[in-house]
């Protein structure tokens, strides 16, 4: 395993779930829970003659950033596209529960000084959503994770990171926008229905899944940043994600919450207003939306490198 310092320079997109988990927290602080050595594997896959993974495609554990415990969930796209099965989901849920227990203990131990020590949950999403081989358990896991996010509200910040190869699709596309804050790189993608499925259902004229450029315009980090589905856009290194999470942990809880996409009447109204704008303007492509929000050279945005984009991008104003 390479040094932590080296790994901070490493492409987040290129990294495995474990590399991300270990290096998203401060050097030497990560402890993996239910690691491969525990061999907690899917009970369903062997029945179907499919190979299992000793971590069921997700790395869970705890580390620290500064004084604060950070509970990490990191999905591995190389195993069945990071899809969520029963064990995978249970590990996610258990991590949330541990974070809440940790919150209570810290509060008890440091009644006057707990705010600077409260834990956080960080999820590095890399998933296509439900694992179809164990669909019921997978769906249930999605619901349970949503419930856990609700349990954390008012107490523990939940931060979603999206910048890995598979992106964040399917049911987990719903979960990620239910977190308090989404951090992406411009290589990250968030969506519900995958491009191939849209093409199959609606036809190639509506959505050409072989057009990678189109996919990125619709689901990519730059679009999500302009639309404020992503609170922050960072460069594609583990270190940049680490730094942005550390910045978030310096914020007050209310400030973190201010980046939520949904979760209050006001936010729901804001989303509905967007639907209205889209219908009224009959946008043909993401570039039209970017132009609507004041990006004059919207056709050049896609080719802009990070610094230029951050400097010039006009984002959707918040109410």
């Amino acid at each position: 395993m390479r040094k932590w310092e080296e790994m901070q320079e490493r492409s987040f997109y290129e990294s495995t779930a474990r590399e991300r988990a270990i290096n998203l927290v401060d050097k030497g602080t990560f402890t993996e829970l239910l690691a491969p050595i525990d061999k907690m594997t899917s009970p369903h896959l062997p029945i179907l003659g499919e190979a299992v993974s000793f971590d069921d495609g997700v790395v869970t554990g705890v580390g620290k950033i500064g004084k604060r415990p950070v509970f990490v969930i990191s999905q591995e796209g190389r195993f069945i596209g990071g899809a969520v099965g029963e064990v995978h989901g249970a590990k996610m849920v258990a991590t949330f529960r541990l974070a809440q227990q940790s919150y209570e203990k810290i509060k008890e131990k440091y009644p006057n000084d707990y705010e600077s020590r409260i834990p956080a949950v960080v999820i590095s999403f890399e998933t296509g959503g439900v694992r179809l081989h164990e669909a019921n358990a997978g769906l249930l896991a999605h619901a349970e994770v949503m419930e856990q996010i609700q349990h954390c509200r008012g107490k523990i910040p939940v931060i979603g990171l999206v910048g890995s190869k598979v992106g964040c699709f399917g049911g987990m596309g719903f979960v990620v926008v239910a977190t308090d804050m989404v951090i992406m790189s411009d290589r990250g993608r968030i969506g519900l229905t995958g491009p191939e499925v849209i093409e199959e259902a609606m036809g190639k004229k509506e959505f050409d899944a072989s057009d990678k450029s189109l996919i990125y315009r619709i689901t990519g980090g730059k679009h999500k940043y302009i639309m404020r589905d992503a609170a922050y856009l960072v460069k594609d290194t583990i270190g940049d994600f680490h730094k942005q999470v550390a910045e978030a942990l310096k914020m007050s809880y209310d400030e973190v919450q201010s980046h939520r996409c949904i979760g209050s009447l006001k936010l729901v109204e804001e989303q509905l207003e967007l639907v209205k704008i889209a219908a009224e303007n009959n946008f043909k492509d993401a570039t039209d939306v970017w132009a609507y929000f004041g990006n004059k050279k919207s056709d050049q945005i896609q080719d802009q490198f990070y610094d230029e984009f951050i400097r010039e991008a006009k984002r959707r104003p918040r109410r």
Partner: protein, 555 residues
């Protein structure tokens, strides 16, 4: 006596007659309206003609191919198609419509499955499956086209053609047709006052048609570095250290694939580290592969001659005229015939991937239900027996040859390195090594004269798998070659026959070398060694000159 005198200009007279019949269709000069294209074909093509449709690897005479499907089959039938690529559905539709009946070709690509079906159902009489050079050669022997349906970027009123970035097969197709009194029809994207450069002189062209749509080009040679695996990186390290460095390979051809893309992307990193810059990989016969950009930019490559172009590479190539062959108009001049000839005689090494290698070392990309053809790989993936110039790499490979002395005594003679890259288990766990090639089954089901073999075992010098390199040419018997193949064939049925004591002996002799034997640190064999990890990185390396097609723009 007068009445018995044999006429020696029947072809010419026939040609004049056909052209004369077509005159009413000509709008001006040599230009025929697209709406008259079908009529033109009905007029100048006669039953049983040999006809070539320019279906290159990349640019396609797609409009003329569609028009040929629309001719009246009462007037035009039993055509014998002699074309290098069967790549569009229309190339087979002409057989379905009983306009054409026989084919001689080189490469079938995406139509491979349907072609096999047609042959099986008796819709097509199969002539032979050729390599490119072989088919082009026969254009001048016994397969000379009577009519050529070709394609260019633009034409002027005199019929001068500009083939632009993808010249590919156009010169050879036209030369063979025109000078044997045939008829040349070109579809072009536009008709201009003056072409940017004359690739084909106007008096070699009979008719020019502006097609309603620009011709179709397929980006066949772009491999997204994002899809290169760690296993491919390992094999690339082995190739660079165990073959390129070992033999000092200066001139070469890379087959297209992720394996060779990995090698290209390791030159500026791993190759640089081994101090190989300037010592290897200086001269290529190669399409402008985007994955070669980092090596070119780092000063590795002196010269590249290309079979055809590649989508998105025009500006980059134009700006690197020291490296590529560029016309006075500043765009690439590619030429499949010359490049194949250059690759056959001029290079020291060919390397490429394959689908199956049998226990004897024969390799094939055929499966039981697809007639994919050969394209150009066998022209480079063989030892050119007519080669007479020497290089150090060629001589070293000859010196190591285990049987040469028993054939020609102590006379020094070199040998082409022919390398196959193979993963022991390929996609969907298909074994890369098999007891018997699927090509046998294909030959049987499609009624082919011989199983289509891409590279014969006796031409193959090296196999590289993640298990190691087999230096097959060093072997002195078929038995020894088979043992060397087993040693690198992993857990396939062929590899499971491996005898450890044999492998130990082969390693001692240097016929088999594992990554450890080569001194390769396995922990470094991962994607972080790639000079570019995605298409965006390639754009950055190119200084913004490379403009990838939308399907590769993952950002």
């Amino acid at each position: 006596m007068e009445g018995n005198r044999k006429r020696w200009d029947t072809l010419k007279r026939d040609r004049m007659e056909r052209i004369r019949e077509a005159i009413p269709l000509v709008k001006m000069g040599k230009i025929v309206e697209a709406s008259n294209a079908v009529k033109l074909l009905e007029t100048v093509i006669k039953p049983y003609d040999k006809v070539t449709i320019e279906g290159d690897n990349q640019k396609q005479a797609d409009f003329l191919a569609d028009c040929l499907c629309k001719v009246d089959r009462e007037q035009v039938h039993h055509l014998h198609m002699v074309q290098s690529a069967i790549s569009l559905p229309s190339h087979l539709d002409v057989f379905e419509k009983k306009i054409a009946s026989k084919v001689d070709f080189s490469y079938a690509g995406s139509q491979a499955t349907r072609l096999a079906q047609f042959v099986k159902e008796g819709k097509i009489e199969m002539g032979a499956i050729h390599t490119y050079l072989e088919l082009f050669g026969r254009y001048f022997i016994d397969l000379t086209p009577r009519v050529a349906l070709t394609v260019a970027v633009s034409a002027d009123k005199e019929g001068n053609l500009y083939t632009g970035f993808n010249t590919e097969d156009t010169p050879v197709v036209i030369e063979a047709t025109k000078f044997k009194q045939g008829i040349v029809i070109a579809q072009v994207n536009e008709i201009v006052d003056k072409v940017p450069r004359v690739d084909i002189p106007g008096d070699w062209v009979d008719f020019v048609i502006q097609a309603p749509q620009p011709f179709y080009v397929e980006p066949l040679f772009t491999r997204d570095p994002a899809n290169i695996t760690d296993s491919q990186v390992l094999r690339a390290m082995m190739v660079i250290k165990g073959i390129y460095a070992e033999y000092g390979i200066q001139s070469l051809n890379h087959g297209v694939g992720f394996d060779t893309a990995a090698i290209e992307l390791l030159l500026p990193t791993y190759g640089e580290e081994l101090g190989l810059k300037g010592k290897i990989c200086k001269y290529f016969s190669l399409n402008p592969h985007p994955t070669l950009i980092p090596a070119i930019e780092s000063g590795w490559v002196e010269s590249i001659h290309s079979f055809g172009g590649e989508s998105g590479m025009a500006d980059y190539v134009a700006a690197r005229s020291d490296v590529f062959f560029i016309g006075p108009d500043d765009s690439l001049r590619s030429n499949r015939t010359y490049c194949q000839a250059a690759g056959h005689y001029g290079i020291d090494l060919f390397i490429g991937g394959t689908l199956q290698i049998d226990k004897f070392g024969n390799s094939s990309t055929a499966t039981a239900s697809r007639i994919a053809g050969f394209g150009g790989a066998p022209n480079m993936g063989c030892d050119p027996r007519g080669r007479r110039h020497s290089t150090e790499a060629w001589l070293k490979c000859g010196r190591e040859d285990g049987v040469q002395r028993s054939l020609i005594g102590d006379l020094p003679r070199g040998r082409r390195l022919v390398v196959q890259l193979q993963e022991t288990f390929r996609e969907k766990m298909a074994p890369g090594f098999v007891d018997k090639l699927d090509a046998w089954k294909l030959a049987e089901t499609a009624g082919l004269a011989i199983p289509p073999v891409m590279i014969y075992g006796d031409d193959l010098t090296h196999i590289v798998t993640e298990e190691g390199i087999a230096y097959l040419h060093k072997c002195s018997s078929l038995e020894e070659r088979m043992a060397a193949i087993r040693a690198v064939a992993g857990f396939t049925e062929v590899g499971l026959e491996e005898k450890p004591e044999e492998t130990t002996e082969l390693r001692r002799k240097g016929i088999v070398r594992t990554p450890e034997d080569l001194g390769i640190d396995l922990s470094r064999a991962n994607r972080s060694l790639l000079a570019a990890k995605n298409v965006r990185d390639l754009v950055e390396w190119s200084g913004g000159l490379y403009h990838p097609p939308a399907k590769f723009r993952s950002w």
